[in-house]
């Protein structure tokens, strides 16, 4: 049984994301300020499969590539804030997905796979942190990310940009 640095409950204390967009299940390794490894298990009950026709083919059950990216971004977000968590999306300091480049999808992910994201902090500035990432199922690499940029901005910036309806949605 590998060490668990953060299970589901701890993840919810550290990330604002909830079902169906809390896309990590467990942190199995962390070296604050340097690197982190987190896992996401993919099952037949992912909500996105709900809209598939009953006779959908195996290939139609490929886990959405952009959600692999989101899952890896959440791992980077955890590493960026390990010692100073940002659990509320509307706090005084919010974490934003600034940008990403050099992403390669090199393998498919299907129900039954457990994806392991390895993220490494490559450079940090005052309000911006830059990572690289590699995601694998077993020892097969399924995604590589050359550069992922996460920015921290004052909370007011995001909330005020929201039209009034956002809160009542």
């Amino acid at each position: 049984m590998t060490a668990i640095f953060a299970g589901a409950a701890e993840l919810k204390r550290r990330l604002p994301h909830r079902h169906p967009m809390l896309l990590l299940d467990r942190v199995v390794e962390v070296e604050p300020g340097a690197r982190l490894i987190a896992r996401k298990a993919v099952t037949c009950n992912e909500p996105w499969y709900d809209r598939l026709a009953d006779d959908a083919a195996e290939r139609d059950h490929d886990y959405p590539a952009v959600l692999l990216v989101e899952s890896c971004c959440q791992a980077a977000g955890l590493l960026a804030t390990w010692d100073d968590p940002v659990p509320d999306a509307r706090g005084d300091r919010v974490m934003l997905f600034g940008g990403i480049s050099g992403v390669r999808f090199t393998g498919r992910v299907r129900p039954g796979d457990v994806v392991e994201h390895q993220v490494r902090l490559t450079r940090s500035f005052a309000d911006t942190v830059i990572f690289e990432g590699r995601s694998a199922v077993g020892d097969e690499t399924v995604m590589e990310i050359e550069q992922l940029v996460i920015a921290f901005r004052p909370g007011s910036g995001l909330a005020t940009a929201a039209p009034a309806t956002a809160d009542r949605a």
Partner: protein, 128 residues
């Protein structure tokens, strides 16, 4: 040909811009499935879903539509403004073949200006 399984439910409109380039758009409905968890009580359309909008739009407007294009990479994506329920996203696509692969890039705009600049790469799995 939309990906079978996608986190973005909105309908993609496929038309042409005044200068003839392919234009795709989609209104981000408050019922998008990601919103309950991103974030509770404060719905913000995730950046990866803006990428997915372009992914589905690129497939809808792909050259050689009889070919099976499969997303093989994200060359780059940069986000400049958040997207909220009710926003309509629009992108004028620049599609070009790059040897065996395809590349589709676009600036995505919303009601409050630029949202993102994205370049995607596709693999051509041949004619169906």
């Amino acid at each position: 040909m939309s990906p079978a399984c996608t986190p973005v439910a909105g309908r993609i409109e496929h038309g042409t811009a005044p200068d003839g380039t392919a234009r795709v758009s989609m209104t981000v409905g408050p019922g998008e499935p990601v919103f309950p968890g991103h974030y509770p009580g404060f719905p913000i359309f995730p950046g990866v879903c803006v990428i997915e909008f372009l992914h589905r739009g690129a497939l809808a407007a792909a050259p050689e539509p009889d070919h099976t294009w499969v997303l093989s990479g994200i060359e780059s994506a940069r986000f400049t403004n958040p997207v909220f329920p009710g926003d309509t996203l629009t992108a004028d696509l620049t599609w070009r073949r790059d040897g065996a692969d395809g590349r589709c890039s676009a600036s995505v705009t919303g009601p409050r200006g630029g949202v993102a600049r994205i370049a995607l790469r596709f693999e051509d799995e041949g004619a169906r």
